[in-house]
């Protein structure tokens, strides 16, 4: 099978049966925002705004680079924003303005690592 054929047949999430490293029995205590993100996912599903399968597809649509580099809940929240834009529920402009507003609540710029 050629390299590109493999890309077509297996989307990023479809890893069942692939060779992989030994299992490290990792776990971490959830951060408060991660728990909020999980609760947001459930609430979006309750209201039939974004269901579980749409969320999974939304994560896959981030592409393998982002899927590989972002953490689990980072992928979820970015996927939610994209899905909500695509459905016309939020616009990128109002989201950008809201991000500015939220960022402005913490004036200390020391940990502000984005330009």
């Amino acid at each position: 099978m050629t390299q590109t054929e493999n890309l077509v047949k297996r989307l990023p999430n479809d890893i069942g049966g692939l060779p992989a490293e030994p299992i490290l029995q990792t776990d971490h205590a959830m951060e408060p925002w991660e728990k909020r993100c999980h609760a947001l996912a459930d609430v979006l599903d309750f209201h039939k705004i974004v269901n579980t399968e749409e969320k999974r597809c939304g994560v896959e649509a981030l592409g393998s680079d982002m899927v590989g580099k972002l953490t689990y809940y980072e992928r979820w929240i970015v996927a939610f924003a994209n899905i909500l834009f695509r459905k016309g529920i939020l616009t990128p402009t109002e989201f950008a303005l809201k991000m500015k507003e939220v960022e402005a609540r913490w004036p200390d710029d020391k940990t502000h690592d984005r330009t």
């Binding site: 999430n13 479809d14 890893i15 069942g16 049966g17 692939l18 060779p19 992989a20 490293e21 030994p22 299992i23 490290l24 029995q25 990792t26 971490h28 959830m30 951060e31 925002w33 728990k35 909020r36 993100c37 999980h38 609760a39 947001l40 459930d42 609430v43 979006l44 599903d45 309750f46 209201h47 705004i49 269901n51 579980t52 399968e53 999974r56 994560v59 972002l70 689990y72 809940y73 929240i77 970015v78 939610f80 924003a81 909500l84 529920i89 939020l90 109002e94 989201f95 809201k98 991000m99 507003e101 939220v102 960022e103 913490w106 200390d108 020391k110 940990t111 502000h112 690592d113 984005r114």
Partner: protein, 216 residues
């Protein structure tokens, strides 16, 4: 300890937990607040759902398993209709509207659950999955070399035991009913529940007398 030291300690802790949130933390806040402003979700819904999530843990699943060990009628109902048995007998709500299929381990069959595509898990009865369940090595290998995966958890099965791996979906979740350990005939239901850990209900380890948790 002087009063000054005491005060200082508290002031320090408060500062540490009130730092500037990270980018994705703020992104969650932005998305949530926009949805509340548009009245698509209620202002207290996220908080309430966090409390639901906090109320679920492997201890809940352990109670279900222990009941199934002592009550054959309940076990039959649980194996026939996992979700309704949990709802009716334990009042467990399936907030994510998923179905639950309970898989019974026997002397001849060992079950293991996985979600190869993502991280589907019986959250209403077990709470949230451990990180390793969501990462590539477990997801990729559980379906192709389950015995090697089990061995990494210290579980070596005889060759004549059939290993069945069930791959979860967005709508259908699985829970393993582990075998009741030998030598527990005199145990109470509560003592039995203390033997049932999260990993026994994922199917990566058997329930053992030595793994008993301190009853809460």
């Amino acid at each position: 300890m002087s009063g000054t030291d005491h005060d200082h300690h508290h002031a320090h802790a408060e500062t540490a937990s009130a730092g500037r949130p990270g980018y994705y933390d703020m992104m969650e806040t932005a998305v949530r607040e926009l949805l509340v402003e548009k009245k698509l979700i209620g202002p207290d819904e996220i908080r309430r759902q966090i409390e639901v999530l906090d109320s679920r843990s492997p201890a809940l699943g352990a109670k279900v398993v222990a009941r199934a060990w002592v009550d054959p009628d309940f076990r039959a109902r649980l194996l026939a209709h996992g979700r309704s048995a949990c709802e009716q007998e334990f009042g467990i709500t399936f907030y994510d509207d998923t179905d639950l299929i309970v898989l019974e381990n026997t002397e001849k069959v060992h079950n293991l659950i996985v979600c190869t595509l993502c991280s589907c898990y019986p959250r209403p009865v077990l709470g949230l999955p451990p990180d390793w369940y969501k990462l590539k090595p477990y997801r990729a290998r559980a379906v192709s070399e389950p015995r090697a995966v089990l061995a990494e958890f210290g579980t070596i099965l005889p060759d004549d035991v059939e290993v069945r791996v069930s791959d979860s979906t967005a709508m259908i979740r699985y829970l393993v009913l582990p075998m009741r350990p030998k030598g527990t005939e005199h145990y109470s239901e509560e003592q039995l529940a203390a033997l049932v850990t999260r990993d026994t209900m994922i199917g990566v380890v058997p329930a053992r007398i030595e793994s008993a948790r301190t009853p809460s």
